[in-house]
């Protein structure tokens, strides 16, 4: 087994020799530099411009309010570039978006940190709960043929039990009889297919669609179940509950559309949505 890296090492302040390491370093440090620049602007309100050329000759730049604007201050050019005015107006009109974005980013970073912690915990649990007699918990690649076949059979059985449980819940949520209780006409059911001819076809369609929806997603519906909202978590392993997403929900409602469809936002500044992660 190769020796693990010694961790962070002191680095000599001279041009790096290894070409690929240099590329990686450039990428990481450039990214870090931009982050620091962004933070300086956010925290202290300083305007900043950073221009960096890559080893390959490409240029990366970061600037607030814009690279050109700050550059021009340095160059003392009186004549403004064409889109200069737009940028100025842009910032005056909606200075509020940057703080909002920073808050949003902070929230995402917090969620990420929680997810990382959870990941470590789960891996630890797996490591600790591994019992020597449970050969099926070993990676599949290490199983011999007999075990693999036996395991397959057992898993198929388990799968059946799980799907049975799922359809049980389905039944519980949409017991077709209940919808027809109290129907005014008292007309009989048609061949046990539970179709009430007096029901509005739209209602019937809606119910049918709801059923299909539930089939697809098999998630706990947001409305109360006929037999109450049984939370099975109590009986099972409580530490598996992910509660960290609670705080994120406020952002789901507030800033659902990160494309910022407010006035004045130019089309070409729209990036792909940064929606909060869905479980």
């Amino acid at each position: 087994m190769a020796k693990k890296s010694k961790g962070r090492q002191r680095i000599t302040m001279a041009k790096m020799e290894n070409e690929s390491n240099l590329q990686v370093t450039f990428s990481k440090r450039r990214s870090g530099l931009f982050k620091k620049a962004s933070e300086l602007n956010t925290l202290c309100g300083a305007d900043i411009a950073v221009i960096v050329f890559s080893p390959g000759g490409k240029v990366y730049s970061f600037g607030h309010p814009s690279v050109e604007l700050v550059l021009n201050r340095f160059l003392n050019i009186n004549q403004q570039p064409p889109n200069q005015n737009n940028n100025m107006r842009f910032n005056e009109v909606r200075p509020i978006t940057i703080p909002t974005m920073n808050d949003y980013l902070t929230q995402v970073m917090n969620d990420l940190e929680s997810a990382k912690k959870k990941n470590e915990e789960l891996k630890k649990i797996r490591k600790n709960s591994k019992m020597p007699e449970c050969w099926w918990e070993e990676p599949v690649e290490e199983l011999d043929l007999a075990h693999a076949i036996e395991f397959k059979g057992l898993l198929e059985k388990l799968r059946k039990t799980v799907t049975d449980e799922a359809s049980k819940h389905l039944q519980a949520t949409f017991p077709l009889q209940n919808f027809y209780v109290g129907s005014s006409s008292g007309a009989p059911f048609l061949d046990g297919a539970y179709i009430n001819p007096n029901l509005d076809p739209c209602v019937q369609r809606r119910m049918f669609n709801a059923n299909a929806y539930y089939n697809q997603n098999m998630y706990s519906p947001n409305y109360p179940l006929p037999y109450g909202n049984n939370n099975y978590a109590g009986g099972f392993v409580p530490e598996y509950n992910l509660n960290y997403m609670q705080g994120f929900n406020q952002y789901q409602n507030q800033n659902q559309n990160l494309s910022f469809k407010e006035e004045g936002f130019s089309e070409n500044e729209r990036h792909q949505d940064g929606h909060p992660p869905h479980l």
Binding site: A14, K15, L22, T25, F26, R29, K36, T42, L43, C44, G45, A46, D47, I48, A49, V50, I51, V52, F53, S54, P55, S61, F62, P65, V70, F74, P99, M101, N102, D103, V108, D111, A115, L122, S129, C134, W135, W136, E137, E138, V140, A146, A148, E150, K152, G153, L154, L158, R159, M218, S220, N231, Y232, F236, Y240, L258, H271, G274, P276, P277
Partner: protein
């Protein structure tokens, strides 16, 4: 002593802000220097603030002039391709981090469901006690596992064609799931049968699932 996490927002306290500005400005210039030195690339930084009369330029006005000329020599397209301001930068970071978070959450869910699956197999719990919302996730993990298993069985069956008959014999006699040495040679099977017969006498029953291998 661990540092306090700084809230990423404009610092209202004036003296605090000024102090932070001084420290961070120096930090940025240091980092810019390291980047330029380690990677041997041109770097230019301009910082304009209320705390300095004229904009601070790094490395120096002359060097910055060189960077600017190189910059201006590039076609506008190349200049602006990777140009960012606060909005675009933050948007980029948000997208990236959200993506990472999504992937990790997904992985966590899968790991969780794997635990559930193993617990069901070893009898620590049963499907009836699984949360409704987790049933689907559990089913997916089971499917994935089955896919891998089928592949593994295929590979092994190809290599081990001769001992396929003894495979059935071995599977039929297992009543529990005891430890056996791993290995796909045919001699291991007979060892396994013997061991299983011994261990089936021991009380290693698995609760919850019906292990009668009636499909064989």
């Amino acid at each position: 002593m661990t540092r306090q996490k700084v809230k990423m927002a404009y610092i209202e306290n004036e003296s605090s802000r000024k102090a932070t500005y001084k420290k961070r400005k120096n930090g940025i210039l240091k980092k810019a220097n390291e980047l330029a030195t380690l990677c041997g690339v041109p770097v230019g930084v301009i910082i304009d603030s209320a705390y300095d009369l004229s904009p601070e330029v790094w490395p120096s006005r002359e060097e910055m002039d060189k960077v600017v000329s190189q910059w201006q020599r590039l076609p506008v397209m190349d200049r602006t391709k990777k140009m960012l301001n606060q909005q675009s930068y933050l948007q980029q970071r948000i997208s990236k981090e959200t993506e990472t978070c999504k992937k990790l959450t997904k992985e966590n869910k899968e790991l969780e469901m794997k635990e559930v699956m193993f617990d069901c197999l070893s009898g620590k719990t049963s499907p009836s006690r699984i949360e409704i919302s987790d049933l689907r996730g559990c089913g997916n993990v089971i499917e994935q596992y089955l896919k891998n298993l089928k592949r593994r069985i295929e590979i092994l069956s190809k290599n081990d064609g001769a001992s396929s008959s003894s495979v059935h014999a071995a599977a039929t006699t297992s009543a529990a799931m005891p430890i056996v040495e791993m290995g796909s040679s045919s001699t291991a099977f007979s060892d396994m049968i013997r061991q299983q017969q011994i261990q089936s006498n021991m009380n290693q029953t698995v609760r919850g699932l019906d292990l009668n291998q009636q499909q064989w």
